[in-house]
Amino acid sequence: MIAGKKMLTKKQKAGRFLIRWEMLLMYLLIVLNLVLLIMRPDLYLKPGTLASMIQSGLNICPMVLGMSLIMMMGDVDVSCTANMVVCAYATGKLMEGGIPPAIAVPAGLAACIVLGAVNGFLVAYMGMPAVITTIATSLLYRGMVRVALGTNVLRVFPDFYSTVMWEEAAGIPVCMILYLLMAAVFVVILHKSRYGRALYMIGNNATTAEYSGMNVRKIKMITFMIMGFMSGLASIFYIGRLGGGAQSATGNGEEMTVIAITALGGVSAAGGSGGIYGPVIATFIMAVLKYSLSLLGMDDNGRKIFIGIILIVAVIVTSTERGIIDDLKENMRKKRQARYKN
């Protein structure tokens, strides 16, 4: 197999690269932009349209990065948005009490890491299924905020929250710059560290990973804590998008969008495959798709159906051990071999 890889020509390598899932997503992103450019050039070329599209879709982006790691292990965290609301609550409440942002924001993030650790402990050390565990903790965390906040609204948040989601630096949305920086860190973590390699191994076969000497429980625990931290960071983006206001129902249901983007990004729900580039591109695809479908006159329900279809296709392609792209590659290889023999 290794020998076979070495024998690949530059052309073959380029061919393989061009049909990678991430590249297919890039094509889709380009096509979406072209469709909007052709159908509504007046709107597409209007200053600020592209920035608006990007800003509209990045309010949950930090959670996509965290979810990518979780799903790579074959798990899922449904409690991420409830966790996000806890962070918003902690930060907002402290700031209402006159605590400066330099303390309130880290305190909110710390609360999220603790809640992530609770998830991690239940999944990794108690052996509970991640889906059930995080559904339960989602109810628990959001319920706690509901009880504590009641019908009140938190309105005191640091000014930089709104800056993150509404301002631009050199014409580029600030949230996009931050997202790409965070993604770069995650790429390094996933591809250049032992921890990243361990995630792939656990996702492929946790038992084998355990027998090969990995501390699977510890790695799971750390990953859920990272997810908690990213949910906390997401509260900055999400509350910023809403101009600095939080209620107990804030972000309700957005966890499904997070999971959907991650799946669309090529992270297999079964674990063991995927990366960071795919979910990052998928975040932009979802932003452009939702926005542009509206500009093209599709109603909100129609958009949901359309996005649902795209997700089902993505899951069919990526969830099996060898997706359609692999099958295509295999068929191409067989045909080449047959031609060579003839």
Partner: protein, 385 residues
């Protein structure tokens, strides 16, 4: 491989069929026929309602129907998901499209600061209806009735139902009837149950404040428990149905006052076949509750909903469109004392409403007192609302 391709094709075919069916239903329809942002366009007015339920679509149909009849261009940006975040996105899209004005029925009382600042910077006029925006975010607010009237009327209807007193149209605010009935009442303290929308629903919370204020009146003391049992159904039929079933199972309340659109409909389903003495009232679409109410030839108390109220949702949507047109074309600024003329359309005659001060420091246009439906008029109103 073949199975996967086949399943993908099936999903795509199914989706294509569904998309073809939903393109013109509900939100984001427009009659402008052109790109709203282009210079040659007439002004386009947009509406963003809370969600695409039948209740909210009555507002939207009022808005779009009025626009069509008087010749305005419109766009419907109503969201499918009941959240502030979805509405922020919808407003952002409408700003990009360059609409002239946006009427918003807000899903929450916070979260619109930045997006409406952006709209104002783009020269777009915004107003709110039903659930209001902050004073500096709107030209004015269109209220079906004052929050005080809505809250107090619903509470009084609830107490009337508990006392088995019929609504008397000669005593529209019910105070005289209630005072007399409460004076004569010698039974145990009446316990009221409430099914509201969400814990953070601004309109319902405002009503609850006025309901509590009404309960603090002397005539209720010792007769009605001032502590209402409030449950939240998230303005969802299933969730509200669960809360209605919980009330039935607990059997502690004498009457349930539904203060969200989905709640009375949920009660109709939950109470069907039950022989409970609990009565239901509040606010509800006549077409949704007609099955739970007696018909004109039946006894007033023969079914579990004796009376219920509502306002004209169609007219509220139409008023929102009239406010936007007046703000964009005629310089209407929504200041206290200014007048708004709504042209005649459909079955409505021309009407002039005056802008009044709102209890949040802004201004509002109040359409009028709510309409109370009883067995005598519910079937007629069910054809309209």
């Amino acid at each position: 491989m073949k199975k996967r391709v086949l399943s993908m094709l099936m999903v795509m075919a199914l989706g294509a069929g569904m998309l073809a069916g939903c393109g013109k239903s509900g939100g984001n329809t427009d009659n402008s026929g052109k790109a709203p942002g282009s210079d040659n366009d007439k002004n386009v007015y947009a509406i963003v309602d809370k969600n695409t339920t039948e209740w909210c679509m009555k507002d939207v149909h009022g808005f779009t129907g009025f626009c069509e009849e008087v010749g305005y261009s419109y766009k419907d940006g109503t969201v499918a998901e009941t959240s502030v975040s979805a509405q922020v996105q919808a407003i952002d899209e409408l700003i990009t499209e360059g609409v002239a004005g946006i009427a918003i029925n807000a899903n929450g009382d916070t979260g619109f600061e930045q997006i409406l600042k952006k709209a104002q910077e783009a020269g777009i006029k915004t107003c709110s209806y039903d659930a209001r925006l902050a004073p500096d975010q709107r030209v004015t607010h269109i209220n079906q009735t004052t929050n005080e009237d809505a809250g107090k009327y619903m509470l009084r209807l609830g107490v009337l139902a508990a006392l088995r007193c019929e609504y008397d149209e000669n005593d529209p605010d019910m105070t005289a009837t209630l005072k007399k009935a409460l004076e004569e009442y010698t039974g145990p303290e009446i316990q009221l149950g409430i099914i509201s929308a969400g814990v953070d629903a601004p309109v319902q919370n405002a009503w609850l404040v006025y309901m509590e204020e009404e309960l603090a009146e002397d005539m209720y003391k010792g007769k009605v428990n001032p502590q209402m049992d409030i449950k939240y159904g998230n303005d969802d039929v299933t969730e509200s149905g669960n809360q209605a079933s919980a009330f039935l199972a607990e059997d502690k309340v004498d009457v349930i006052i539904c203060i969200s659109g989905a709640a009375p409909q949920a009660c109709v389903s939950a109470f069907e076949g039950s022989d409970t003495d609990i009565k239901v009232t509040g606010c509800g679409l006549p077409s949704w509750v007609v099955d739970g109410m007696p018909s004109a030839d039946e006894d007033y108390w023969s079914k579990f909903i004796p009376h219920i109220l509502l306002w004209d949702l169609n007219y509220m949507g139409a008023t929102a469109a009239a406010v936007l047109e007046a703000a964009v074309e005629d310089g209407f600024d929504g200041s206290v004392g200014s007048k708004l003329t709504i042209p005649a359309f459909d079955r409505y005659e021309e009407r002039t409403l005056e802008v009044t001060e709102c209890d949040d420091g802004g201004t509002e246009v109040v359409i009028g007192a709510p309409v109370v439906f009883t067995h005598e008029n519910v079937e007629e109103w069910a054809k309209i609302l």
